[in-house]
Amino acid sequence: MPGRPDPLQELPLVMRKEPFGGIVFDPFDGTMLELDPEAYGVARKTLKGRGLFFSREKREMMRELKRELHLHRLRAVREVKVQGAQDWQSKIPVPSLSAPTLVDFQITDNCLMGCPHCYASSIPKGQHVPWEMVQRVVEQLADCGVCQLAIGGGEPLLHPQIGDLLKLCQDKGIVPNLTTGGMELRPDNLTLLKKYCGAIGISMEGVGERYSEVRKYPFRKFEEALDKLRDAGVPTVIQMTLSRANFDHLPEMAEFCLSRPELYGAIFLAYKPVGRGETYSQALSTLDAKVVSKGLSHAFNLLSPHMRVGYDCCMTPGVAGVEDALKFADESNLEGCSALRGSVGISTRLDVIPCTFTWRHRIGNLKTEHLRDVWRNANAERFRQRIEIKSQNNRACTGCLKKAHCHGGCPVMPLINCHRDHIGDPEQKWSF
């Protein structure tokens, strides 16, 4: 793929056995495949160059895997065996992995932007996570076979060891991605981002004046940041947090994304009333579900022919209502809350939390425990049960074919509604 950072091409593919078969992750473009036991067996042999005596069916699977993964040349493989994973399996029927594949790590509380909606309540005097602690966390991630690290904060580019962290990830075979406000981009860190990161997210809550109302910087500065990223060849995602305060502005935001054809993608996040942002606005669940559905549908359709479109997993019920209108999506594009099923958050205090918004649901701490043990502890199981109960008990999910993917929305707070178009009851509005 032209323009891809070289170090990512050198990273080994990650293989990890799971109770349902196994996963294969290709750091080249962030492809994650979940395979059944037979397909996993084929993948193992193919990647080890031992597919000589494959039956016809297996040869077909081998060809499919070669299409999915970048196997046009010999690639190194890292087969991860998570200690004790073979003896553990979640008791909760909601599908979950034996260890996380994606970790969100808030490496600092320091940020100069002072956004009023900030769930992390970051401030200019905020502390950075000490380097020894960062190293400790990354060691544990590698032990667990984590594939991607989403680095957040605060402003991660203000952390004095951000370069060392990106390099450490590379050494451990983990793809680092990062979200920034974009005001700290300089030639030195742009080179690092280009060299080590899979992609980076840059936040935008509005266009023009609406941007500077939130971010306190002129929109021109944001556009300059995008230019810098483009010129440095960094795969960039515009990250848009949607709340009641800016939902009417969604079409302008989508149009703006269209005007930047260099983008890797555009991603929409549901606003959560958490931290300093608790009283900033109201969640999308306070808007008419049909209006939200229509707005999202319009934005998705506008952008998807030109770039990847993404949404954070807590938005799934809102997307479940619109995806039928999107020719390219089917229900397996829907995957509800991933907290403690495939992903996990780590706070600046090294608390392990289901996701970075749910700091009240601390399930462990990495100063004293290992991530693989925290993943399997009783607190984690209780949280998984919350997800399970959410979709089982949610009246709005009765009879919905997508319930098994969507899980009925965020198990902690009401964030977005589903208007059930997809089960033929468009007039009925349901609240979570």
Binding site: P19, F20, G30, T31, L33, E34, L35, D36, P37, E38, A39, V42, R44, F53, E57, E68, Q86, Q89, K91, P93, V94, P95, L102, Q106, Q148, G152, N177, T179, G198, A199, G201, P235, V237, I267, L269, S304, R308, G310, Y311, D312, C313, T316, L326, F328, A329, D330, S332, N333, E335, C337, S338, A339, G342, C355, F357, E388, Q392, L401, K403, A404
Partner: protein
């Protein structure tokens, strides 16, 4: 033999995991026969305690797919008739690897035998030719 789910693209989102909709690649889809009439995925719903003490159903599940020994059998014939037994497939050796190994050993033996046979035939032919010449 299946790819159960694909996710393509880097996840930058430092808040929660993101789903990418990538128009170029259709995602793997899950057969409808895995759902009951109410749209529930067919899985037993043990309490957190069950499945340990009482040897209850071992549901081994993951994003978008389940191996559930107690689920209604799907119309497709299951490759593993022993799937009603409780032990988790996770702990078993991958069947495909085992059978591949057997195939490999057999193939190897076959090749050696073939080489021997060929050598023998060549010898015979050579001897015959020598005898004719003499």
């Amino acid at each position: 033999m299946n790819i159960l789910r694909r996710h393509r693209g880097f996840t930058t989102n430092s808040s929660s995991a993101s789903e990418w909709i990538d128009p170029e690649r259709p995602p793997a889809s899950i057969p409808l026969d895995q759902f009951d009439a109410d749209g529930n995925r067919i899985v037993p719903t043990p309490t957190p305690e069950s499945g340990s003490g009482d040897g209850g159903p071992a549901t081994i599940s993951l994003e978008g797919f389940e191996f559930n020994p107690f689920a209604t059998p799907s119309p497709k014939p299951s490759p593993k008739p022993e799937a009603t037994a409780t032990p988790a497939p996770a702990k078993e050796e991958l069947p495909s690897v085992a059978s591949e190994n057997t195939a490999m050993v057999l193939g190897f033996l076959g090749t050696i035998l073939g080489v021997f046979a060929l050598e023998r035939m060549l010898r015979l032919w050579w001897r015959k030719r020598k005898e004719q010449e003499d």
